[in-house]
Point group: C2
Chain length 447, copies 2
């Protein structure tokens, strides 16, 4: 068996697999007023040269918001950053400081002090107290080598710059078992300021793909558009629900998951103060699309993944149920191993839909009006533009051309379409397959 070995803690220093090179940008259009850096500290034992400390700073106060994990065991940087954003009411933030190689989770009051030390050291260099969001990713239950980290924050501050390479180093330093850095940038306009070009950049890291488990998801989004602090949280939450919460690593479950958005207004133009305004809706739509495209990179880099699969659930009685059904199919190990095995096994797809909404064991009540077997249809949609392959139509199995089904399922990209016929709501979820490599990587992750 050919096995991809992944080092735990940013294994990337400008090298990534040839097959992933197309996902790494060679240039970008970055938002004004930000500087970025990625430096080497050596946080994880055995890391002798990988970037593992990232700093992103705005040259002026920015509105900021973050969506954090709901896991009951929240890492110290999550607790610290949540309190900071609450205390600042989403205003006046300047920096995000991130380390990989150690999660600073389940580390008690000492861990909280370490997170605070990372923030205050950054604050001092940037010259603005209480202005730094902290993120960490890595192994749970170990204290950070905080002296080393604090010593290197000045190095990061001095090295920071606004070139493509600076942003790429920053995106590289947040990685753990990722095989390539995930960085994107884009320009956009808002209706009320047609003469202003706004920009947004984002970086993310993920990796574990099987379920929304412990492969920490960290994301930093930064724009130079002027967004009012009061709408930041809600605009971000909506974007996260349709992106990082719509891949099989959900943003809600590791001890450290954090998605942060900074908006420093450096590009000028009119401040966006309402989500319902024309500008608000335009920004929200742009942010959701941007976040979804960034989230897809995480699926492309799923541990051991060989396929990128879109699960689309349409004509459902409720949005919540459409999302739950899409997620259930995306998470099903039997669906995922069938995809890996190039097996067009629609029975497993149907089965995963069929148990998505049922009550847990021991509970008898189980009314699921969103699914009516006789109205359910399942198709494979090839991504090469060729014809849809119907597998089940209104609850009746089709005579499937197995050769054609095998052909579609062998492609790297594939869409599974489930029509429920019970309403007009829909949801999309992105996922990948489970391979032998997934087991190898995760059976030998900590050691």
């Amino acid at each position: 068996m050919k096995s991809v070995r992944r080092a735990y803690a940013s294994s990337l220093n400008g090298t990534w697999p040839a097959s992933k090179a197309k996902y790494v940008p060679t240039s970008g259009t970055y938002p004004k007023g930000y500087t970025a850096a990625g430096v080497f500290v050596g946080i994880k034992h055995g890391n002798t040269d990988k970037l593992d400390l990232a700093l992103l700073s705005s040259d002026r106060p920015a509105a900021a918001a973050a969506v954090f994990t709901k896991n009951k065991f929240q890492a110290a940087p999550v607790t610290f950053s949540r309190r900071l954003l609450d205390a600042r009411a989403n205003t006046g933030l300047r920096s995000v400081i991130v380390n990989s190689g150690c999660a600073n989770a389940v580390t008690g009051t000492g861990g909280l002090e370490d997170a605070a030390a990372m923030a205050s050291t950054t604050d001092r260099h940037v010259g603005a107290p209480d202005s730094t969001i902290v993120m960490s990713t890595g192994v749970i239950g170990q204290r950070l080598p905080i002296a080393k980290i604090v010593d290197h924050i000045p190095v990061a501050y001095l090295k920071a710059g606004d070139s493509h390479q600076h942003w790429l180093d920053c995106a590289t330093a947040i990685c753990t078992t990722d095989t390539f850095p995930k960085l994107m940038s884009r320009s956009f306009k808002l209706p009320s300021s047609p003469g202003v070009e706004y920009r947004i950049a984002g970086m993310t890291k993920g990796a574990g793909m099987l379920a929304p488990n412990m492969a920490t998801l960290l994301t930093i989004l930064a724009t130079d558009a002027p967004i009012a602090p009061g709408i930041m949280r809600s605009v971000l939450q909506q974007a996260v629900d349709c992106s990082f919460n719509s891949i099989t690593i959900d943003g809600d479950t590791s001890t450290n998951d954090t998605v942060a958005l900074l908006a420093n207004g450096a590009a000028g133009g009119t401040e966006v103060t309402s989500e319902q305004s024309e500008d608000g809706r335009a920004f929200s739509g742009m942010l959701t699309d941007f976040a979804a495209d960034l989230a897809k990179y995480i699926v492309r880099d799923g541990e051991g993944a060989t396929k990128f699969v879109t699960i689309r659930v349409v004509d459902c009685a409720s949005l919540d149920s459409a999302r739950t059904i899409a997620r259930s199919i995306a998470r099903s190990p039997l669906v995922k191993t069938a995809l890996y095995g190039n097996d067009a096994n629609w029975g497993r797809i149907l089965c995963a839909a069929g148990y998505a909404l049922i009550s847990p064991p021991g509970h008898l009540v189980n009314d699921v009006p969103e699914i009516v077997p006789e109205r359910t249809s399942v198709s494979f949609i090839p991504t090469d533009g060729s014809q849809e392959l119907k597998l089940l139509v209104n609850g009746e199995p089709e005579e499937v051309n197995e050769a054609r089904a095998g052909q579609i399922v062998q492609a790297t990209d594939l869409e599974i379409l489930v029509k429920l016929g019970t309403g007009d709501k829909s949801a999309v979820h992105w996922t990948c397959d489970i391979s032998h490599d997934y087991v190898t990587i995760n059976g030998d992750y900590r050691t």
Copy 2:
């Protein structure tokens, strides 16, 4: 990589792996008044000699109940048998007829007719109309070769007997990807009839182990104790919750899952008419223990499994939450791959507990009083009687002797103990690891 290939449809004809031989009984004490048979039909294409039709019959009317899957796509035999038991009010049943090799699921009205034909053919031979429960397991979306099956029901009826080999053939014929037949028998007494020896026998099949997905779980339990029809369903449901719903194949999710209990009273004694009576409590306790021991065989035969792991959650504020947390740990692919890799990674255990009770993405409300990080403890309990290894005590990581941890996690059997410190409820869940073989088996299952 050494790969265990499993044929899909009873791959067993008196041969099973040497390592599993200890789980297959060579004799038994079977309940009075029942005959059993397992015969070859050739239901699945390519099956040339494996038993694939099972019949269990009582020589007198029996009380019967069943717990069925909650999956919205219910197989025809599930629909048929549910209606039958409702119509008969759990009384006057005689037989269970089971085929492996084809699930008769998503087969429309034709499939329902096939299930009815299996039942009525059995009824005719037994000489009692509307007295046969039907079960099927195998691939979804294909019609049964019903003529062949109907032709072979008389053969099964003629071959049926009450010897150990008859019961073993019956238990073998219900298997699909199982590597050994799962059969158990036991004697017991009830307080009000101290002079009567009662007997119970049970057979089950499972196999897929990763999550409660599509590896159909079928179980038949038969006793010669006299149990009133009115309490059968509730006694069975309670036993299932603490057994088949407490392993990582939950009984509630495939299209075909069915657990049936027959009680024909052939041993005599006083009828048990109340669950709250001394007899009722004794029978219920015995049935729960028996079902749990049978369910553990399924875990022992998990696809590709190399370990048997008990997850025990104690001191929890509610029973439901204790179960949900235990199941979340048991289902976590990251916990399961760590166990496979002999990695004592308690961080993944904690993480899986920490997301067990959280609200889904898009829902902000997330109050989880059952988990308080500072009161949570995690230990490994070796099964060789040696000392507990504390990993986390009241939220603080212990200095773990990694050599000792590695030693414990390398054993085939292992218990993970999670103390929550928020109440007095507890739950146990049994699970196994995920190996390379799991991926191999499930990536190449239908073909």
